[in-house]
């Protein structure tokens, strides 16, 4: 489904990979080895050399916004631009959607500044999964979460995989990488 070859970011060359539906590539490695830059390059948010394609169709042949609707990048630090979480969705998530990541329904209308960093992170993940992306590019999606919330998020990601999605997961958590991955990529200096 997602194929990356000869990708070069400002941090260096990225090993080639090919991701099939239902697969999760766990990317680990020390800080500064270009894990985030790799995700940004795949989302076409930074100029980079190399070939990236979805179902054999090269990235350049997509309009960039269409590409990013299919290949959804979620930055490590959640960012918001509206006063409430709910305003960031085109269709507000249902109580079930929210419960899946352990968010109370009243969190949708609370001012962003009143959400905890963990609530913001889970809200941003829900937003990134809105209207069915094909591939998720996740940068440390559970870095601010406790064990219980992490388990909820991992269950949601597994459901996304079994529905035919694919994930590139950047994580520092070796156990999480082992729980979710179907393949691994280690970046070195």
């Amino acid at each position: 489904m997602l194929s990356v070859s000869q990708l070069v970011t400002t941090a260096g060359q990225v090993p080639d990979f090919d991701l099939k539906p239902g697969c999760c590539l766990a990317v680990t490695g020390p800080s500064g080895t270009g894990k985030s830059l790799m995700l940004r390059a795949i989302a076409d948010l930074d100029p980079a050399q190399g070939q990236i394609s979805l179902d054999g169709r090269p990235c350049e042949s997509f309009a960039a916004p269409d590409w990013r609707r299919d290949i959804r990048y979620l930055a490590a630090e959640a960012a918001f631009w509206e006063p409430t979480l709910g305003a960031h969705f085109s269709v507000p998530p249902t109580a079930d959607d929210l419960a899946a990541v352990g968010l109370r329904p009243d969190r949708l209308d609370a001012p962003i500044l009143q959400l905890s960093s963990g609530e913001r992170q889970r809200g941003a993940l829900l937003r990134a999964m809105e209207d069915a992306p094909r591939v998720l590019l996740l940068d440390e999606p559970t870095s601010s979460l406790d064990a219980a919330s992490t388990a909820l998020v991992e269950a949601l990601l597994k459901a996304f995989l079994s529905s035919g999605g694919a994930i590139v997961l950047v994580t520092h958590d070796e156990d999480q990488a082992e729980r979710l991955r179907t393949s691994r990529l280690r970046l070195h200096r």
Binding site: D46, A64, R68, A79, F80, W81, R127
Partner: protein, 264 residues
Amino acid sequence: MTAPNAGEILAAASLVIFCASLSRLLRLGFGRSLLISALRMVLQLVGLAFVLGWLFRTETFLVTLAAMVVMAGFAGAEVVARQEQPPGRLWTGLVGVTAMLTAGLAVTLPALLLLGDDGSWWHPRTALPIFGMVAGASMTGVSLSLDTFAQGVLRDARGIEARLALGATRNEALRPVIRQAVTRGMMPTINAMAAIGVVTIPGMMTGQLLAGAEVFGAARLQMFLMFLLAGATALGTLGATYAMAQRVTDARHRLRLDRLAVRK
């Protein structure tokens, strides 16, 4: 009323000198820049009178046009100087000058054709003061909006990128910043139009009245000029902001902060 002589001007200047010494006494620190800018004002007005005198005697269209380009160039330098975070000095200057010159000419030339039906429309005596007022107003708008835009883009970079990552186009992702920049650029003009005649008597009309013009004639000319100013400010502000929005993004709808050339 006749123009004040040197002694009368000196009397008015003593007010500024008094305020500067007040600043020194209270250690407020604005006295020095007040005196320097007052001195600049005097020198620049004397220079302007010499240059205008020469221009008014030549009466050729090309000289008029060249003077407009020079004025826009100075205005561009002012725009760059007023940026707290110039997104590439050269670009800010180019965008500012182009926006002001285009908006200024697009507004001034038809207006001059309309006013100068006796064939004198391109005479420097008519064309340059009008262009100067128009360019000055749009300079304020352009510099405010470019400054607001650059600061907004840097402040909201994460949010803008988050929107792009969700599939927004660059115009969608930048719209709040663009709106803020354009609104801020238009604010002085909108305020000036709202306050005119109730709170303020505009400088140009004051000059006309002091020179003995008929009041309704002066009011009509002022209206005409305010429309030109508002139009040129809106066009210049919009043009400059959208040009800068293009500059900080690329055809693949990426936010290119590297092009802001933030100095390290």
